[in-house]
């Protein structure tokens, strides 16, 4: 198993190389003179020359790229000339906000989405099941940034219950943004969980467990849930990266100084060193999240441990059970 973990971590190297290459190219392919874009048209020649040298634009692209690779190994992601601070420091400041937001929204997604999907599957033909399914389609149709504005309007401004701007009030500040991200995803996961549970319910081992006379709820929880959760987890592994950098709009609307807002502001002011650092971090998070999901798989289903270690899977951990 540890061999497998190491090999999976080894995948980071080509991904890092690729993303660094693309992100470093940004300095060269941006239209116009990047230094003038960053500093404005009327910059004095000395500053211009200094910044140009500091960005490594006076040397060739490959020298610049290799220099960056060398500094990454030392844990140095470069320097932001807009903020006059090291990129690592800027990212480390933004990261905790996004981590908190991710935890809150993930909790909401899991607590609301999965039980709703299971109930919808079990009560497929009843009114409650249909209501959940209908609500889920409606929820998927509600974009997070729109829900964010609606929540601000209702709970922040009309009722005044919860803060709508900034991270100042601890966990309370994260409730509305967490709901904005978590609820539409909960709707989506409810659909995934419902589909997967319905499939599981037709399996022979469920019929067998029921005919042995086990209580229905126990069959659902002990036999059904465990198997139904696999596709949900797969989806979650794929989405985790989106959680981390995807909250651009929500963080902007709620004025939370996290990674999403950092992405937005660094694109707006052309702060490419910061953008490059964020893209690298993103790749790291995606690979680690997929690894984590694979490890959880092995706990849910022992058959998978063998399949994973034999590497009968692609990078995203997709093809465990082509056809059971």
């Amino acid at each position: 198993m540890s061999k497998f973990v190491f090999r999976r971590l080894g995948l980071l190297i080509p991904i890092f190389l690729g993303i660094s290459l693309v992100a470093s190219l940004l300095f060269y392919i941006v239209p116009g003179d990047i230094v003038r874009v960053m500093l404005g048209q009327h910059v004095d020649p000395l500053t211009y020359a200094n910044v140009r040298r500091a960005l490594g634009l006076d040397i060739s692209f490959w020298q610049n790229f290799l220099g960056f690779m060398h500094s990454i190994i030392r844990g140095d992601l470069g320097y932001s000339y807009i903020q006059q601070r090291p990129v690592t420091q800027i990212i480390l400041e933004a990261l905790p906000v996004t981590v908190k937001l991710t935890v809150v929204s993930l909790c909401i997604t899991v607590i609301v989405g999965i039980p709703a999907g299971i109930i919808a599957a079990v009560r497929d033909r009843q009114f409650s099941g249909r209501l959940i399914n209908f609500t889920a389609v409606a929820g998927i149709s509600l974009p997070s940034f729109l829900l964010a504005l609606f929540l601000q309007l209702i709970f922040g401004i009309s009722l005044g219950w919860l803060p709508v701007s900034g991270p100042g009030r601890g966990l309370l500040s994260y409730i509305l943004p967490g709901l904005a991200i978590g609820l539409p995803l909960a709707a989506f996961y409810a659909k995934v969980a419902r589909a997967s549970m319905q499939e599981v319910l037709t399996r022979e081992y469920i019929v067998f467990a029921l005919s042995r006379g086990l209580p229905f709820s126990r069959v659902i929880i002990n036999h059904g849930l465990r198997n139904a959760l696999v596709p949900v987890l797969t989806q979650m592994g794929m989405d985790f990266g989106m959680f981390m950098t995807g909250a651009v709009l929500t963080e902007t609307i709620f004025n939370l100084p996290g990674m999403g807002r950092l992405v937005y502001s660094s694109i707006n002011v052309r702060d490419f060193p910061v953008l490059r650092g964020i893209l690298l971090l993103f790749a790291l998070v995606v690979v680690l999240a997929n690894l984590l999901v694979d490890l959880i798989y092995t706990k849910l289903d022992p058959r998978m441990a063998a399949a994973i270690v034999r590497e009968e899977t692609d990078v995203a951990g997709q093809t465990y059970f082509k056809d059971k």
Binding site: V137, I140, L142, P143, L146, L149, T250, T252
Partner: protein, 287 residues
């Protein structure tokens, strides 16, 4: 015709989806007749007026009629949605078919390019490209095609691979049909069924993408009445003029809901046994 009638009667998802889309089409075609005012006409003396008899959805910060702007905004949403979907299907079908049918190096190259594109967060990728190309409808459509074609190409590729070894394709080949004929007449028509539901739901997601980018100031530019542009402006007045958020927001929500309902219903019709199949359409590009 009879079949269409039967479907509309028995499948409520399809019925409501079609109704919403028909209303949207009507609004965008008849915009000059429906809207009481010019969507761009400013009137600073009537700024931020709440909804009343003459201005049913109120006025925005520049005194423009919100109802008229929403009606005209439906044009932008539909144009962007349909053109992005058409181009995505075109690019995705060509590349996906090429990859699936010919395989080999071509397949690897196309799939690796799509891997790279899919490994970026879509919204971030779209934002970076928009910054390079500058805002505007044409660039916006281009960017949305760039972030959408990989998924589509993958779907088509999978279908082509599973179809190309079927007996009827072999029969056509033995009968001497040229490769172009095999692909166009025998393989593709058999690939499109699963694509239809996906495509329907994609329109909703594309409209969300457009509004999100316009909301960030990277898509449609003011003063054009895109729903996203309207929301971006409304955000600054949310505490004094909530109607500016509510009405464009509802417009987006109902539109996307309509397309998703239709997609849900179509998916059910095409595959009634597996109606519980996972619809892997994530509404928006944001988490």
């Amino acid at each position: 015709m009879l079949l269409v009638k039967h479907i509309l009667k028995t499948n409520k998802s399809v019925f409501w989806g079609v109704t919403v889309i028909a209303l949207l089409l009507a609004a965008s075609l008849l915009a000059p007749l429906i809207s009481p005012a010019d969507p761009l006409a400013q009137n600073l003396r009537a700024s931020l007026n709440p909804p009343d008899g003459s201005r049913v959805f109120g006025t925005d910060s520049l005194g423009r009629d919100v109802f008229s702007r929403i009606v005209y905004g439906s044009r932008i949403s539909l144009i962007v949605g349909v053109s992005v979907l058409t181009l995505t299907m075109l690019v995705g079908t060509i590349l996906g078919t090429a990859a699936g049918y010919f395989g080999g190096i071509l397949d690897s190259v196309i799939m690796r390019v799509s891997d790279v594109l899919m490994s970026f967060p879509p919204l971030v990728l779209a934002m970076i490209v928009m910054v390079f190309t500058g805002p505007g409808v044409v660039n916006l459509v281009g960017v949305l095609v760039i972030i959408r074609w990989p998924q589509f190409a993958r779907l088509i590729r999978g279908q082509v691979i599973s179809t190309k070894n079927m007996t009827f394709v072999d029969a056509a080949r033995i009968a001497g049909t040229p490769p172009a004929g095999i692909v166009l007449k025998h393989i593709l028509p058999n690939c499109f069924l699963p694509v239809i539901a996906y495509a329907t739901m994609s329109i909703g997601a594309i409209i969300v993408d457009e509004t999100a980018l316009s909301f960030l100031g990277l898509g449609i530019q003011p003063p054009d009445p895109s729903w996203g542009v309207m929301l971006a402006d409304a955000k600054n007045y949310i505490s004094v003029a909530p109607w500016l958020v509510v009405f464009p927001g509802l417009a987006i929500m109902i539109t996307v809901f309509g397309f998703n309902l239709l997609g849900d219903g179509v998916g059910y019709l095409l595959n009634p046994k597996q109606n519980n199949r996972i619809e892997v359409i994530h509404g928006d590009i944001e988490g």
